[in-house]
């Protein structure tokens, strides 16, 4: 018995030493972006916000623009975004993030400015600001997280809630005859001459995560070139308020959200202009 225990311990130590040898800077393939703080995120398990935050942070790191980027957080689940991004940020009133971003960009035009907003913030209470900021062609990035529900207040109907979809304020499913139709605001802003690049992505699969990252990367490059407004909708999930496990919510998203909110570029820059 004693001999066996000694052998097990030796094996264990050997494994630990091997792990330590592997975990070196040269072998690193994945680490926290410098643009994220060490604060523990308050997002629910499986929520897309964490992934979207990480993508933004990775892009800011890769472009080396941490010192030159100012973000605007909304009211909604991502109200505390300023706790997670290691950059200067302002927390806006509900719906007003794009107006706040306009104010910042207009007085500091050489900085990179983005707003990060949910569907209730951007497409309900802030519709006016969204449309006019896009129409003016403010040289900023708007990141729009669409999960079809009010997460922070506990699962009420959003402007983007699907027809028939249940929420605490549409408990029998969204009846479009009385509650109105879901608003495809991304298609709407794509029509405006002020928008330069409008796209819809998701973060439910590794492929979509990579596409989202590319969209954010392009947007910030366009901003540097002064091209005008870039608008990235990220179709996301809300396991807690959809009352699903994270895996179920991603399946539901694929089956229900994406047919209504199809992924892909809606407005791409004119090749000649580029």
């Amino acid at each position: 018995m004693n001999d066996k225990k000694m052998i097990d311990e030796e094996k264990h130590f050997a494994e630990v030493i091997e792990q330590e040898n592997i975990c070196t800077n040269e072998n690193l393939i994945y680490e926290t972006p410098g643009t994220l703080t060490d604060n523990i995120m308050h997002y629910c398990p499986g929520c897309g916000h964490g992934v979207a935050h990480r993508i933004l942070a990775e892009v800011i790191d890769e472009l080396g623009i941490q010192e030159e980027t100012i973000g605007v957080a909304p009211v909604g689940c991502s109200v505390f975004a300023y706790n997670y991004f290691n950059i200067d940020m302002t927390e806006a009133a509900h719906g007003r993030a794009s107006a706040v971003a306009t104010g910042i960009k207009r007085v500091l035009p050489e900085k990179y400015v983005f707003s990060y907003q949910g569907d209730g913030d951007l497409a309900a209470i802030g519709t006016g600001e969204t449309i006019h900021t896009c129409n003016r062609g403010e040289n900023i990035l708007i990141v729009f997280i669409n999960n079809g529900i009010y997460g922070m207040t506990g699962g009420q109907m959003a402007p983007t809630t699907l027809p028939g979809m249940k929420s605490t304020t549409s408990p029998y499913g969204r009846d479009v005859a009385t509650m109105g139709n879901p608003l495809k605001i991304t298609e709407l802003v794509a029509m405006l001459p002020g928008t330069y690049y409008v796209t819809r992505t998701a973060v439910n699969t590794p492929v979509n995560v990579r596409k989202t990252k590319k969209a954010i990367m392009n947007s910030l490059k366009y901003q540097k070139e002064g091209k005008g407004l870039c608008f990235v909708e990220i179709v996301s999930n809300c396991p807690s308020n959809w009352k699903m496990t994270p895996v179920q919510s991603n399946e539901w998203l694929e089956k229900n959200m994406l047919p209504f909110y199809p992924l892909g570029d809606i407005k791409v820059p004119n090749e000649k202009e580029k």
């Binding site: 010192e67 505390f80 107006a99 706040v100 910042i104």
Partner: protein, 356 residues
């Protein structure tokens, strides 16, 4: 060298903003103050490089102010009563986040859409908070076009000194009337990286974030106590007022803004009739000259407060007087400016009649 001009109040205010080195103006047209945005749209950007942007609403304008003020730039918006009502949420955020900015309300008669004629009906809104939560604006009340100019410079100074929004509370008549003004020289637009502003997080410092959200009650109370301490300091240091023939007065008229000038005329008329009347005019409505009015109350026999509203500042006058002497009120509403003669008649009715 003195530069004298004949200018409309709104235009003088706009010219003063350019000369004060204002970095950005965000606004939305509304009568009777649209001339501010119109004047700035002419050549302000050409002259100093300042940003001038017509927003899609007053709601958007105040939030552009919030964003731009957060960078430490000198920013300003103006509006009139209904537009200022729309801005209240944003003003509350700005006050809590302690951002410096200059606001001007060229007040028109209310409630509702009301009238485009002059009024002082927004005293409570300006002085007592206006939006949600416990906060104060520094409120400056000009009574001449000259003060519309002077208070722009003073307003920016106070806004940055205390990191607090400052409001110029004018009225439709002051905005529209023309008077001789002496303009100050063009100040350079300067930009300083302030230790709280969102200007881009340098590697050499921690990130800055501007927020008014504090979920822990003890933290939120701490913020509130900090704000209240600041307001107490402002009350101690920034009271401004003007006395007109108060030294030997038996009766005093209290009034702010344009009405104080009408009261001065009424006091002259009263003295011609042998009634010793003076005029006390607060120039700062917050902080309010409580002690100065209390001192007057121990000297004179009565106060008549005159306003273009249903009686708003009179509540603060009565608190200051604390029952020592009678405080009467005369107000006109709906855009009507009281005449010196009617004020004189009120003095005779309310006070002199009693003596006989």
């Amino acid at each position: 060298m003195k530069e004298l001009k004949l200018m409309k109040g709104n235009e003088a205010l706009a010219e003063a903003a350019i000369r004060a080195g204002c970095d950005a103006y965000f606004g939305y047209p509304i009568t009777p103050q649209s001339e501010v945005l119109e004047y700035l749209s002419q050549d302000a950007t050409k002259r100093t490089g300042m940003v001038v942007l017509q927003a899609e609403s007053e709601v958007a304008a105040i939030n552009m102010i919030y964003g731009a003020a957060g960078t430490g730039k000198k920013v300003m918006t103006t509006s009139s009563s209904p537009g200022i009502s729309l801005m209240q949420e944003g003003i509350s955020y700005i006050a809590c986040a302690e951002l410096p900015c200059l606001l001007a309300n060229v007040v028109r008669g209310g409630p509702g859409l009301g009238t485009i004629q002059p009024s002082q009906g927004d005293y409570f809104q300006a002085v007592k908070g206006g939006g949600h939560g416990d906060y104060k604006l520094i409120v400056l009340a000009p009574s001449t076009v000259q003060e519309m100019v002077d208070f722009v410079r003073l307003g920016f100074e106070l806004a940055f000194k205390y990191r607090n929004p400052v409001m110029i509370l004018a009225d439709g008549a002051l905005g529209q009337m023309m008077e001789k003004v002496e303009l100050f020289e063009q100040q350079p637009r300067t930009f300083e990286l302030l230790p709280w502003a969102t200007t881009g997080k340098l590697n050499s410092r921690e990130r800055h974030f501007i927020t008014s959200l504090h979920m822990q009650p003890d933290k939120m109370e701490e913020i509130n106590i900090h704000l209240q301490t600041k307001y107490k300091l402002i009350e101690k240091q920034e009271i401004r007022f003007e006395e007109f023939m108060c030294e030997d007065a038996e009766y005093v008229l209290t009034a702010f803004g344009l009405v104080a000038r009408v009261c001065q005329k009424a006091a002259i008329l009263a003295r011609e009739k042998g009634i010793k009347v003076g005029v006390f005019r607060p120039k700062t409505l917050f902080p309010f000259p409580i002690n100065e009015i209390a001192k007057l109350a121990s000297k004179v026999k009565g106060i008549l407060d005159v306003e273009m509203n249903a009686g708003q500042m009179v509540e603060d006058v009565r608190l200051a007087v604390n029952g020592k002497i009678p405080v009467e009120f005369h107000g006109r509403m709906g855009g009507i400016v009281p005449s010196p003669e009617e004020i004189l008649q009120k003095i005779e009715e309310k006070f002199v009649g009693e003596l006989v």
